[in-house]
C-alpha cells in the first residue's frame, strides 16, 4: 500500500505537515514534528532508491489520470539520488536546527519558521519527483517563495535586503522559466516531459523551440546561480540564519542543477544542445565562474560569504559535467551533486557552530578558536580537504570523474582550470584554518568560549564522516549515478 504511493507520499507528507506546524504553539513541538516528518521522508526516499536499483523506472499517475493528460511522477535513478540528497541533508540538519534556531530566531516565529522550512522541503522534493514540467515550475515557486521567507528571518537587518534581492532575481528566473514552458506548450500541446521528449525532435528546427529553450536555460541558470547570474547567492547565504544556509547550500542549488540535467537530457536531447551554442557557452561561463569565484572567495573576510563564493565556483564544476555531455562527465556531475552537498553541509554546519558560540561569522573573530573548539576546527579542516579534493575524501571522487571526462575529450584547458580550482580552494580553505589555528586570541571573551554543544557537533561530524566514507566507498554515489546516466544518455546514443 505504502509502496505504490511512495513517490507521492514523499511530497505530500511534508506538504500536509506545513500548515499543521504553522498553527502549533511556539516551543519545541514544531521542531519535533518537523524532525519526525523529515525522518519519515528520509526513510521513504531510501526505499525509493532501493526500488529503482537495476535501472527500473517508476511511473505514478496522480489521481489515476493517465499521462500525458494527468500529472505523472516519474522516478529513475537520477530523481531518486537527488531526492535522497535533499531528504538526507534535511534529516541530518534538523537535529542541528533545535539549538541553532533557539539562538538565532525569536521564539514567537518558531512555528512559522518550521512551517516555511517544511514548505521549502516540499518544494525541493516535488521538483525531484515530478515528470511534468509545469508541475515542476509550481514546486520551484513553492521552494523559492518559502526560501525568501526563511532568508529574511536572519538576525541582521541585511537579511531583509538579501531576501529581497533573491526575490527579484528568483522571480525573474521563474518567469523566464514559465515563458519557456508556455512556448513549449504552445508548440507541442503537452507538459509531460517524457511526452515532450517524443514530440520535440520533429520541431527542432523551429524558432519558437529555440526561444523556449533559451528562456528556460536563463531561468534555471538564475536559480542555480551560474556565473554571472549568481549575484543573489553570496548575500543570501551570508545573512540567512545558519540552519537555512546549511539547508539551502546543500540542497537548493543541487536541485536546480538537477532541473538543468532533466531539460538537457530528458526534455531535449544532447544532439540539440550540441547543435546550439549552449554547450560552448556554458563551458566558457563555467571556466570563468570557477576561476573568478575562487579568487573572490580568497578575498572574503566573512566565513559564510567565503563558502558562498566557493559554492558558486563548485556549481561551475557541476555544469562543466553537463556541458561536456559524456558518460564520464555527467556521472561526475551527479556524483558532485551528492558530494558537494556533504562537504558544504559539513562546512556550513561547522561555521554555524562557531556563530552559535561567538555570534559572528567574520573570519578575524575566529582567531585562536581552534584550541577552544577542537572538534569544530577539525570538522572545518576535514570539510575543507574534501572541498579541495584530497584523495580519501568525497571531493576527490567527483574531481576524478570530471578531469577524466575532460581528458577523454582532450580539453586540456579545462583540465588545467579544474585542477587550478582545487589549488585556489587550498588557499581559501587554509585562510580559515590558519586563523583558527595560529592567531593569538585578541579578546579575553574568546578565551572562555567552549566547544559547540553536542546537538550541533554530532550532525556536523556525521557529515564529516560521510565525506570520508564516500571517498572510499562509491557504490552508492557512482553506482547510482552511472545507472542514471545510462538512462539519461540512452536518448543521445540512439
Amino acid at each position: 500500500m505504502i509502496e505504490t504511493h511512495l513517490s507521492l507520499l514523499i511530497v505530500v507528507i511534508p506538504l500536509l505537515a506545513a500548515p499543521v506546524i504553522a498553527v502549533l504553539p511556539n516551543g519545541r513541538l514544531p521542531w519535533f514534528i518537523s524532525t519526525l516528518v523529515v525522518w519519515i521522508v528520509f526513510v521513504l526516499s531510501c526505499w525509493q532508491l532501493i526500488n529503482i536499483q537495476g535501472g527500473d523506472i517508476i511511473s505514478y499517475e496522480l489521481g489515476g489520470w493517465a499521462p500525458p493528460w494527468g500529472i505523472e511522477y516519474r522516478i529513475d535513478a537520477a530523481n531518486a539520488l537527488v531526492a535522497l540528497i535533499v531528504a538526507g541533508i534535511a534529516a541530518i540538519s534538523l537535529p542541528y536546527a533545535l539549538q541553532s534556531v533557539i539562538k538565532e530566531i525569536p521564539l514567537k516565529q518558531h512555528s512559522l519558521f518550521y512551517a516555511a522550512l517544511m514548505l521549502c522541503f516540499t518544494g525541493l522534493l516535488g521538483i525531484t519527483q515530478t515528470g511534468d514540467i509545469f508541475n515542476l515550475f509550481v514546486f520551484l515557486e513553492i521552494s523559492s517563495l518559502s526560501s525568501y521567507t526563511l532568508i529574511s528571518m536572519g538576525k541582521q537587518r541585511q537579511s531583509l535586503t538579501a531576501a529581497y534581492q533573491y526575490l527579484i532575481m528568483g522571480t525573474i528566473g521563474a518567469t523566464f522559466f514559465l515563458i519557456g514552458v508556455g512556448l513549449l506548450y504552445a508548440m507541442t500541446g503537452t507538459l509531460n516531459m517524457a511526452d515532450l521528449a517524443q514530440r520535440l525532435p520533429d520541431l527542432y528546427n523551429h524558432q519558437t523551440i529555440h526561444t523556449a529553450f533559451a528562456f528556460i536555460m536563463v531561468g534555471i541558470a538564475l536559480k542555480l546561480a551560474l556565473f554571472p547570474l549568481h549575484l543573489w547567492l553570496p548575500n543570501a547565504y551570508t545573512y540567512a540564519p545558519s540552519i537555512v544556509t546549511i539547508f539551502l547550500a546543500a540542497t537548493a542549488t543541487k536541485v536546480a542543477v538537477y532541473v538543468m540535467l532533466r531539460v538537457f537530457f530528458s526534455v531535449f536531447d544532447y544532439s540539440f544542445i550540441q547543435a546550439s551554442p549552449t554547450d560552448e557557452l556554458f563551458l566558457l561561463l563555467c571556466v570563468m565562474g570557477i576561476l573568478f569565484m575562487s579568487f573572490f572567495a580568497i578575498y572574503q573576510t566573512d566565513a559564510k560569504r567565503l563558502l558562498a563564493y566557493s559554492s558558486v565556483a563548485q556549481i561551475g564544476y557541476m555544469m562543466v559535467g553537463l556541458a561536456l555531455g559524456s558518460m564520464l562527465s555527467v556521472t561526475g556531475t551527479l556524483v558532485h551533486l551528492f558530494n558537494h552537498a556533504l562537504m558544504k553541509g559539513a562546512l556550513f554546519m561547522a561555521v554555524g557552530a562557531i556563530v552559535y558560540r561567538i555570534g559572528s561569522s567574520r573570519i578575524e573573530h575566529f582567531a585562536g578558536l581552534g584550541k577552544q573548539m577542537p572538534w569544530t576546527f577539525a570538522a572545518i579542516v576535514m570539510g575543507g580537504l574534501s572541498l579541495i579534493g584530497v584523495p580519501g575524501t568525497a571531493g576527490f571522487i567527483s574531481k576524478w570523474y570530471l578531469v577524466l571526462a575532460a581528458i577523454e575529450k582532450q580539453y586540456w584547458f579545462l583540465v588545467i582550470v579544474i585542477l587550478l580550482g582545487s589549488l585556489l580552494a587550498v588557499i581559501y580553505v587554509w585562510k580559515m584554518v590558519e586563523v583558527l589555528y595560529f592567531k593569538p586570541q585578541g579578546d579575553v571573551s574568546i578565551q572562555t568560549v567552549k566547544e559547540a554543544p553536542l546537538s550541533l557537533l554530532i550532525p556536523t561530524w556525521i557529515l564529516v564522516i560521510a565525506n570520508v566514507y564516500f571517498g572510499f566507498n562509491t557504490e552508492l554515489t557512482v553506482g547510482t549515478a552511472q545507472q542514471a546516466v545510462a538512462l539519461l544518455l540512452s536518448g543521445a546514443v540512439k
Binding site: 578531469v403 577524466l404 572510499f472
Partner: protein
C-alpha cells in the same frame, strides 16, 4: 607464525592505534612516551621480519577495497618498498628515543599533538612503501603531507605559519597540479594504475608524449625536491629537530624519491624510458639540483638550513639514478635511500643535540664546541664522511653504484656532476667538524658549562653512527633487495 599479510597490516595499523592512545594519555607524559616506544619497537620488529621474508622471495599482498571500479586500495611488498619500509620503520624507534630527550630537554609545548601526528606520518609512510598501485601511493602521499603540517608548524610562530604555507603550497600544489594530472592521464591511457614489472605504459602511450608525462610525475612529486620545487624543504626546518631528522631526511623526502623510483620502474619501465628518451632533458634538472643545492648549502650559516640543502642535493642523486635508468644506477638509487638516511639522520640528531645542550644553531658559533661535546662531534664527522661517500662508511656503496650507472649509460657529464658534488660535500660538511674540534670560539670563552646532550639523545646518535660504519661492511640486505628489485626489470 603470523602470515606476512597480517604483519603488513599491523605495521600500518599499530601506529594509528598508538596515535589514538597518545591523544587519550595527554595528561600522563610517561605513559604517552611508553606507548610511542612500545609501538615503535613492535613496528621495527615487524619490518625486520618482513624484510627477511621478502628477501626469501615472499610477496605479501592485500587487497583492501575497491574505491572506483578498477581502482583499488591495495598493498603488496616488493623489494624496493621493503628497503624504504625497513629504513623508515627502524629509524622511527631510534628517533622516538631521541625525541623524548629532545622534546623534554628543549621544553617544547603541545607534545601530545607532536607524538600523535608523528605516528600518523609513520603509518602513512609505511603504507606508501607497501602500495600496490599508484592510487594507493598517491593517497598515502597526501595523508603524509597533511599529517606532517602540524609538525612543521609546531612552534605556532609567525615564521612557522609562513613555512607551513610554503610547505603545503608546494607539496599540495605540485601533487594536485601535476601528479594527479599525470595519474589521470596514465589511467586514461593504460586503463590501470597497478605497479607492474616493466611498466604499464609501453605500447599504450605515444613515445613522443612520454617525456611530458614523465616530467609531470617528476615535478608532481614535490617531495623529491627537484629544483625549482625544493623550497619547502628548507622552510620545513622550522620544525623541531626530530621532525627534521626523521621526516625531512628520511620519511617524507624518501617517500618522494621512492615515488619517482616506483614510477620509473613500474609505471614507465626502464625499457620504455630508455627507448622513448623520456628522461633525456629531465636529467639536467636533477644534475643542476645536485650542484646548485650544494653551492647554496655552502652559503648557509644555520646548521639545519645547510643540512636541508644538502638533503635537496642528495635527493637528486636518487632522482638522477632513476632517470638514467640503467641497472646499476637504479641499484645505486635504491641503496642511497638507505645509506643517505642513516648518515643524514645522524647529522640532524647531532644538530639537535648541539641546540639542546649548547643552544646554538649557527655554524659560526660552533667553533671549539667539539671539545665540550666530543661524542656529538665525532658522530657528526663520521656521518659527514658517509655522506661524502668515503670508505669505510656506508655512503660509499650507493655513490659507487650511482657512478657505475652513469658509466653504464655513457653519461660522462653526469659522472662529472657526481664527482664535483662529492667535492662540494667535503666543502660544506667537513669544516663544521674540523672547526668544532680545532678552532677556538671568536669570543675567546672556554666552554666549561656545556656538556653533552641528555643520554637518550646520545644513545640514538650512537646507534645511527654505528650503522653508518656497519653498512660499509655489511650492506647486504639493502644490496640484495636492490638487486632483486632490478633483476626482473632488466632480465626481461
Amino acid at each position: 607464525m603470523i602470515s606476512s599479510a597480517h604483519l603488513m597490516v599491523s605495521a600500518l595499523i599499530l601506529p594509528l592505534l598508538a596515535a589514538v592512545l597518545i591523544v587519550l594519555s595527554d595528561k600522563k607524559p610517561n605513559l604517552r612516551e611508553a606507548i610511542t616506544l612500545v609501538t615503535a619497537t613492535l613496528v621495527a620488529f615487524i619490518v625486520v621480519t618482513l624484510a627477511r621474508r621478502v628477501l626469501s622471495g615472499e610477496v605479501p599482498q592485500l587487497d583492501l577495497l575497491e574505491v572506483i571500479p578498477g581502482i583499488h586500495i591495495a598493498f603488496s611488498i616488493e623489494p624496493l618498498g621493503m628497503i624504504f619500509a625497513l629504513v623508515a620503520g627502524t629509524l622511527w624507534l631510534v628517533t622516538s628515543v631521541y625525541s623524548i630527550g629532545y622534546m623534554r630537554g628543549h621544553h617544547e609545548k603541545n607534545q601530545t599533538r607532536f607524538y600523535a601526528a608523528f605516528a600518523i606520518a609513520i603509518s602513512s609512510t609505511l603504507a606508501a612503501a607497501f602500495s600496490a598501485n599508484m592510487f594507493t601511493l598517491f593517497l598515502c602521499y597526501e595523508i603524509l603531507t597533511i599529517s606532517t603540517y602540524p609538525l612543521v608548524t609546531h612552534a605556532g610562530s609567525t615564521e612557522a605559519k609562513r613555512s607551513g604555507r610554503i610547505y603545503l603550497g608546494i607539496l599540495l600544489g605540485t601533487s594536485i597540479g601535476f601528479q594527479l594530472l599525470a595519474i589521470l592521464i596514465t589511467w586514461s591511457t593504460a586503463g590501470t594504475l597497478d605497479f607492474k614489472q616493466g611498466g604499464i605504459l609501453e605500447g599504450k602511450l605515444d613515445p613522443a608524449y612520454a617525456g611530458i608525462l614523465y616530467a609531470l610525475f617528476i615535478f608532481g612529486v614535490g617531495k623529491a625536491a627537484v629544483m625549482p620545487f625544493h623550497k619547502w624543504l628548507p622552510a620545513a626546518m622550522v620544525a623541531p629537530t626530530p621532525v627534521s631528522a626523521l621526516l625531512h631526511a628520511v620519511a617524507v623526502v624518501k617517500a618522494g624519491v621512492f615515488t619517482v623510483l616506483k614510477v620509473t620502474l613500474f609505471i614507465f619501465g626502464t625499457n620504455f624510458i630508455t627507448e622513448s628518451g623520456a628522461s633525456d632533458w629531465l636529467v639536467w634538472f636533477a644534475a643542476a639540483t645536485i650542484l646548485l643545492a650544494s653551492l647554496i648549502a655552502i652559503t648557509k650559516d644555520n646548521l639545519k638550513a645547510r643540512l636541508a640543502y644538502s638533503t635537496v642535493s642528495q635527493l637528486s642523486y636518487i632522482v638522477l639514478g632513476a632517470l638514467v635508468a640503467t641497472q646499476m644506477s637504479v641499484i645505486g638509487a635504491s641503496m642511497h635511500i638507505a645509506m643517505h638516511a642513516f648518515a643524514k639522520i645522524t647529522l640532524f640528531f647531532a644538530a639537535g643535540a648541539i641546540l639542546v645542550a649548547a643552544h646554538k644553531s649557527e655554524i659560526s658559533d660552533m667553533k671549539g664546541l667539539g671539545k665540550a661535546m666530543p661524542f656529538t662531534f665525532t658522530a657528526f664527522t663520521i656521518a659527514s664522511l658517509s655522506i661524502i661517500g668515503l670508505p669505510p662508511f656506508g655512503g660509499m656503496w650507493s655513490k659507487w653504484y650511482l657512478a657505475l650507472g652513469t658509466v653504464q649509460a655513457e653519461q660522462w657529464t653526469l659522472l662529472a656532476v657526481l664527482m664535483i658534488s662529492s667535492l662540494l660535500n667535503i666543502f660544506y660538511l667537513l669544516p663544521i667538524a674540523i672547526r668544532g674540534f680545532f678552532s677556538k670560539p671568536d669570543t675567546g670563552e672556554v666552554y666549561t658549562e656545556i656538556k653533552e646532550a641528555p643520554l637518550t639523545m646520545l644513545l640514538a646518535i650512537g646507534v645511527t653512527t654505528i650503522m653508518c660504519i656497519v653498512l660499509f661492511f655489511y650492506p647486504d640486505p639493502f644490496y640484495e633487495l636492490a638487486t632483486q628489485a632490478t633483476s626482473l626489470q632488466y632480465s626481461r
